[in-house]
């Protein structure tokens, strides 16, 4: 069977298995982006703070995460944390690594989003007696979040693809399911092209949706 190219019969047969992997991929990504957004929100606010105790650690975090490969981060979390006495299963390790990773990118997105709001908004808000946190919560973040939704969407798409890296710690996500089929059938083309196809089926509609939102908002502003 090996080396015969893409076989549609085999593809249909393994499709349910691959789709179960795709579901895990989407789940991993969704959890990680959700947690990453929370991390990114606070790291992003810390990043623009005038206080060094906030902005220095945040800058350090962002630099370190963006300056090292995700694969290394995944390995450190999965193999390194148990050495410190934290025993996490693969799935939790994967989500943790992906969340920490996306948090750094999302921090930069929030930072840009908050900075894009005109100074007059903050001045008007604090002139009404609102404090910094209230100003952020009721005035700046609602506007900033709307501005950064497309960027968050793109981050989701990027992380969805990057999440394939957690296959190295044996999480049965999409790519790993494909590899399992390959090792069983010795056919590389069908499962791997199938995997690629499924990734595309998820990412293309998503990026269209992001573009659609961007366009609509351009018209409305």
């Amino acid at each position: 069977m090996a080396g015969q190219g893409f076989q549609i019969d085999l593809f249909i047969k393994i499709l349910p298995e691959l789709l179960r992997g795709a579901a895990i991929t989407v789940q991993l990504t969704a959890f990680s982006v959700a947690i990453g957004t929370l991390i990114g929100l606070f790291a992003g606010m810390a990043r623009i703070s005038h206080y060094k105790i906030f902005n220095l650690p945040s800058a350090f975090y962002v630099e370190v995460i963006r300056g090292t490969p995700l694969l290394v981060q995944i390995m450190i979390v999965y193999y390194g944390l148990p050495a410190l006495g934290f025993n996490l299963d693969q799935y939790t390790s994967g989500i943790l690594a992906l969340s920490i990773n996306s948090g750094a990118y999302i921090a930069e997105i929030f930072k840009a989003g908050i900075k894009s709001i005109k100074k007059g908004q903050t001045e008007a808000s604090i002139s009404l007696g609102l404090n910094y946190m209230q100003t952020m919560r009721y005035v700046i973040l609602p506007q900033a979040t709307r501005n950064i939704l497309p960027a968050l969407g793109n981050e989701f798409i990027a992380l969805l693809k990057d999440s394939s890296l957690v296959s190295v710690i044996a999480i049965s996500e999409l790519l790993r399911r494909g590899m399992i089929v390959y090792s069983r059938t010795y056919d590389a083309w069908t499962p791997l092209l199938g995997v690629a196809l499924i990734y595309l089926c998820i990412t293309i509609p998503l990026s269209r949706a992001v573009q659609f939102i961007e366009k609509r908002w351009e018209i409305h502003d």
Partner: protein, 261 residues
Amino acid sequence: MIKKISMKKKSEKNIISNGGPVIKMVNVTKSFGELVVLRNINVEIKKGEVLVVLGPSGSGKSTLIRCINRLEKINEGKILLDGKDIYSPDMDVHKLRTRVGMVFQQFNLFPHMKVIDNIMLSPIKVKNIPKDKAKEEAMELLKKVGLEDKFNSFPHELSGGQQQRVAIARALAMNPEVMLFDEVTSALDPELVKGVLETMKELATMGMTMVVVTHEMGFAKEVADRVIFMDEGIIIEENEPKELFENPQNPRTQAFISKIL
């Protein structure tokens, strides 16, 4: 004529209340880095008084009023609100700002909130007023500025003049003791200026203490109790509007007045 009478009432009220000035600036100096923007400013604003601040662009007018609600920090001197130093440790800056309303040239309404929510934000979040009551008061204020039918609109659905009147209502919602206006009609199309000035005039008539930075000479002549002329961070001249416009003493004031009249 009506205006004259109400002005008179106002000054009588001043005498009755007989407190010290609402705002007193003593030897205030403010710099941005090397640039000295306010030099040794001394101003007093009495209760119910309308003070107009005139001066060329860059003379420090905005900075002067922004110091009063601590949007800018002064380097030297003192600012007293009702006799109390606004930098004293037990003066909470957020509380201070609820007592001093501010209206900006660019309106600065919150674009993601409806008109009514713009107005209710501070009463609800800062003053902890129940939502129903805050809404009632906000509607009352909207009526006052002639926009009660716009309560459910978003700011971008309003004209600049309407937005500015909402901004005034928003500042009034905290029941401030003083209102600061920073060139609030400068960003408006000429035909929209009048409505905003009317609203401000009405406020003045009701006895609001106001500090108004403006180039609108008509407004200054009609509504101001006192006018100060600033240049390069110094108060060059201070007088009643009629005197200052018709009989300016300082050559710089003369040059400025002749240019804008």
